[in-house]
């Protein structure tokens, strides 16, 4: 993970900014997906998905579908 994003993620954790975390992890995951790193993409989508579920965000459903398309979620 790129250093700047890493710091942003830690900051968001510290401040319990879960909605921001969702976006940060989503970006990291999409980046990996664009480079065909499917395992890494699914890993970060999973983290984004969990926080999106916790926060009741609409994007949770899209994330579930992405993971399901890779056989990683029901």
């Amino acid at each position: 993970m790129e250093n700047g994003v890493g710091r942003q993620i830690l900051d968001a954790y510290k401040r319990c900014e879960f909605r921001a975390l969702v976006q940060l992890y989503l970006d990291v995951a999409d980046d990996h997906e664009a480079r065909a790193n499917h395992d890494a993409a699914c890993y970060y989508w999973t983290v984004a998905y969990v926080f999106a579920l916790q926060e009741g965000m609409d994007c949770a459903e899209e994330l579930r579908q992405k993971l399901a398309a890779h056989g990683r979620e029901y």
């Binding site: 395992d39 579920l53 009741g56």
Partner: protein
Amino acid sequence: MERPTVTESTLSAVLQPVATARGLPNAHYVDPEMHQLEREKALFDNWVGVAFGKDVREPGSAMPVDFMGQPLLLVRDKAGKLRVFQNTCRHRGMILIEEAGPIRGAIRCPYHSWCYSLEGKLVTTPHVGGPGINIAPEIVREELGLIEIRSHVWQDIVFANISGKAPEFGDYADTLLSRWREFEKPVYHGGPESSFKLEVNCNWKLAVENYCESYHLPWVHPELNSYSKLEDHYHIINSGAFSGQGTLVYNPRLDDTGRKFADFDGLSAKWDKSAEYIALFPNVLLGVHRDHTFAILLQPVDHQTTIEHVEIYYAQQSSLGDDVADLRQKNAAMWRAVFEEDIFVVEGMQRGRNGLKFDGGKFSPAMDEPTHTFHHWVATQLSK
């Protein structure tokens, strides 16, 4: 010291008719092991009051409750139904929720982030099949939802049956529900001053026993008795589930200018002057009057410590208005004073039961029947 046990002979003495019965022996008050036995048989096998619905009001509201060591989680689900879950993750048994507050989406376990819906369904199990793989053939989500504890909400009181062995709440409390059918209406919590807790140094049963009898009124509550005399009280007995007392002269005078709280709609004339105070066994103490009700949930902390959670509700929304805020204050202060007057007796009875030669006591057949009814009920639970 001889280890106290539940023996047939001690319980059979309690199970006699009031005239010849003995009260429950000391062990039922001073022995931690007996307390554990009663926890299972008298409390967990029955419907215990654990919380109030007003504290979990909105969909998504959640509140952890520790009831006698049982970690419970109260959740108002999306449809507005109040549910009681075991506050324990199905994965490694982590406590799920530590503090009351709103759940915005899912209940996420703080350990490995398994997520549950407000309805208790297991929604996701991150990395359970390895990093980034959230499924595994061994992890059958349908079988791993939160454990739901049987619950029932009545008069805003959240009842739970922890072992799952009790009859339906409606069957258990049937006679009381019919007796108070006229109060089966929405109730309106009086607000912050109508909510208070008292921590008392006594076994939970003594709080029940003192609550359901009127014999002590002239001595312990002289003020109450100045308008509500002993002869104006009657006993209420139901050996299966409750006992208590009623008064025939309920006549609140909170205000000199004649302001008062509005009554429940459609009450029969009986309630113009009557009010009733009933202990619904094991741990819920109730009071109904034409204009307000209250409930006290007894939270047994250990064999000699009890927290009384008191909440006062009004019959009509109009009683929550600013114009009667001072009356609500007075009413709450009046009840608090009454309940505080009872503390020295329940604590004194607790200490009295350290007297090795106390034999459970002798009941007055005329005055102590509600108390004996409760002892009889406890003994019956322990004999099951």
